[in-house]
């Protein structure tokens, strides 16, 4: 049986495959242009940024309490959530306590991870995505297929149909018109909302500032109109100081979309003050673990450096063919192939096929702004699946080979016996995988076993040459 991801990819329509392939190739090119146009040595920057984030995750025991203290000093209420359930419940509790009914959300991957919208709706709260892509995902009851551009798998006709269906605007395929319809529809929602929810791209342990990177202006709106601000922050999002933001900000937008900076880079340090009467009255921040400390304890902790730029998705030959939904998780692509099985925790076996959905070409490592050795991590996870004896579809049985390869005498015998293949009528096998192979290929003459005698002869000759 084929690998799950291949099964999925085969079912994709040409329309989706083209959308994903074109958009991701385009972003890969913009990334290269932006980095090499602007810097002498972008690779040195990636390496430095990787060292910086590795330093952070290996010192989270220092930085987390430091960040907490800085946040509290800024008047931010800090909460901790061990898992998705607790994180959702914490948000709900904050809303109930503050008499809130309506939430506007700016784009945050961690809220997707904990399935916040679904939870809040179940508990009678209105929760609306305001990032255009996420908004379309929400009205279509779909899932994002890319970390940065959630509807990379949809085209303008599909979006126009959804807008017509939902009564957001008359059918129109022009992207400018679609965007204007969403702008008009959502404008009113910001003013009616009680809560603005955001994530955080970075959190400075020194100052307790969270940094948000967006392009549309929706996160600014979420903090301009509503009276309560809630921020969801994965525990790995920390940087030591404000100064450390320089290199990461320079790399993030260039890696993601080829921009120098995202249009909006927001630095938020609490709610409004008597002297600064603009913005929300209160700011709440929820630190989320949800499997991250397990990842930190694993041999794949480097994946926690990730700053969610999506460059590894865009460049990945597997992602481009399979699209994001093939990864069956919030984080698709190469980063998802590492992170999703780890965050699945006890459900690791369900996701253990993902690390195999890679040719290990190394492109993801080359483009990573924090230099995560993704191919190495994929190998470590394949190894873990093997050690835990997890069966995944699409793997040929390797036990006979393992037996052969670890018993020299059996190997030697097999190599000699292999000569028999030259005399077998292999090409006349009537069907099955052998036939599929031999219709377009000849079986070469058997050459197995000759290496051992060759090296033996060579060593012998060497020794005789060395003798005076």
């Amino acid at each position: 049986m084929a690998q799950k991801i291949d099964v999925f990819a085969k079912k994709l329509t040409d329309e989706v495959r083209h959308s994903v392939h074109n958009a991701s190739s385009l972003k890969t090119m913009s990334r290269v242009d932006a980095l090499w146009r602007d810097f002498e040595d972008p690779d040195a920057m990636r390496i430095l940024a990787g060292e910086l984030k590795q330093h952070v995750i290996e010192n989270l025991d220092t930085y987390l309490p430091q960040a907490e203290a800085a946040l509290q000093k800024n008047g931010v209420k800090v909460y901790w959530a061990t898992d998705a359930q607790e994180a959702c419940q914490t948000v709900l509790d904050i809303m109930v306590k503050n008499n809130c009914k309506r939430m506007v959300k700016s784009k945050t991957m961690v809220s997707e991870e904990i399935e916040l919208v679904h939870f809040l709706e179940k508990h009678g709260m209105e929760s609306l995505e305001t990032d255009l892509g996420e908004f379309i995902v929400q009205i279509d009851h779909d899932h994002p297929s890319h970390i940065v551009t959630p509807i990379i798998h949809k085209n303008r006709r599909q979006v126009a149909e959804s807008f017509q269906r939902e009564g957001i605007g008359e059918y129109n395929e022009t992207p400018e018109v679609i965007v204007a319809q969403a702008r008009k529809f959502l404008r009113d929602k910001y003013f009616k909302a009680d809560v603005g929810l955001t994530g955080a791209n970075f959190l400075s342990a020194e100052s307790g500032r969270i940094v948000l990177n967006t392009n549309e202006g929706n996160s600014r709106f979420c903090l301009a109109a509503p009276r309560i601000h809630i921020a969801l922050v994965g525990i790995e999002k920390i940087v030591p100081t404000d100064k450390d933001l320089s290199i990461l900000l320079n790399l993030l937008a260039r890696s993601a979309t080829g921009q120098k900076l995202t249009v909006y880079t927001e630095f938020i340090k609490g709610a409004k003050l008597a002297t600064r009467p603009e913005g929300p009255e209160e700011m709440h921040l929820v630190f989320i673990d949800n499997g991250r400390t397990k990842v930190l304890a694993s041999e794949c902790r480097e994946i926690l450096r990730c700053i969610r730029c999506g460059a590894c998705l865009n460049v990945c030959p597997v992602y481009r063919q399979a699209s994001g939904h093939a990864y069956r998780s919030v984080y698709p692509g190469p980063v998802g192939a590492v992170l999703s099985p780890l965050l699945a925790q006890d459900d690791f076996p369900e996701m253990a096929d993902l690390p195999k959905a890679s040719s290990l070409c190394g492109a993801c490592h080359e483009v990573c702004p924090v230099n995560i050795p993704i191919p190495d991590l994929l190998l470590r996870l394949r190894d873990r699946a093997k050690r835990e004896k997890i069966k995944t579809d699409g793997s040929p049985p390797m036990e006979p080979f393992a037996m052969l390869a670890s018993h020299p005498l059996v190997w030697k015998t097999a190599m000699q016996a292999g000569k028999a293949l030259d005399f077998l009528p292999v090409s006349s096998v009537p069907g099955g995988p052998v036939k599929a192979w031999t219709t377009v290929r000849d079986l070469p003459q058997w050459k197995g076993g000759s290496f051992r005698s060759w090296i033996k002869k060579r060593q012998k000759n060497r020794r005789s040459e060395e003798k005076p």
Partner: protein, 202 residues
């Protein structure tokens, strides 16, 4: 045990087996300034160049600004009360209100606010609550006019971060609001301004 302690204990347990912790790399080896900025160049010229690359428009005279706004059929807008005298030059064809009325947000076609500064290297405008009179005034109208003085210009991102103030809300704005969510096609004016203007105050 509280969730806080559970998480922090898990973090400690996860890190305990590490023989040593990775050190902070420091920045001695590498200069983190892009080729978009040259120290020889005048800051305003440098800013203007990079600002126009991100589709920002800059104006230095009231006449030009007024003509542009009229060409966009703008009539009514919001203006920072501290700037009304300066922008009286736009009257009487253009009028503005000095308090952002949420019920009239769709009627305002432009907003005039003060920027705290601007970053030449990236063409970014900096807004802080201390100097920006209204977050909505700078965000909701289709055209936003941010006013800077020459003395407010900053050369690079590292300098801007080293001078970052204590304000609860600081935002760097690098061009008009935009999205490329639909087929990767760039559309300006997503939720925020579709036209971002920088006006150099005399």
């Amino acid at each position: 045990m509280s969730s806080r302690d559970l998480i922090l204990n898990s973090v400690k347990a996860a890190l305990a087996p590490l023989p040593q912790r990775a050190a902070h790399p420091g920045y001695d080896k590498l200069k983190i300034v892009s080729k978009n900025f040259s120290p020889q160049q005048d800051l305003w010229v440098s800013f203007q160049e990079n600002f126009s690359k991100v589709h920002g428009m800059s104006f230095t005279t009231f006449v030009e600004l007024k003509n542009f706004l009229l060409s966009q059929k703008s009539r009514l807008g919001y203006c920072d009360p501290a700037l009304t005298d300066v922008f009286a030059a736009l009257n009487p064809e253009l009028t503005f209100e000095t308090a952002f009325d949420r019920n009239k947000e769709s009627e305002y076609s432009f907003g005039i606010t003060r920027a705290t500064g601007a970053i030449a290297e990236t063409g970014s405008l900096i807004f802080e609550d201390a100097t920006t009179s209204s977050r909505l005034g700078s965000l909701a109208p289709w055209i936003h006019i941010a006013c800077v003085k020459r003395g407010d210009l900053i050369d690079t991102i590292p300098t801007a971060l080293s001078r970052i103030s204590d304000d609860p809300n600081i935002i760097w704005v690098t061009g008009p609001s935009k999205t490329a969510d639909i087929e990767g096609i760039l559309v300006e004016g997503a939720h925020g301004p579709g036209i971002q203007i920088c006006f150099l105050l005399p």
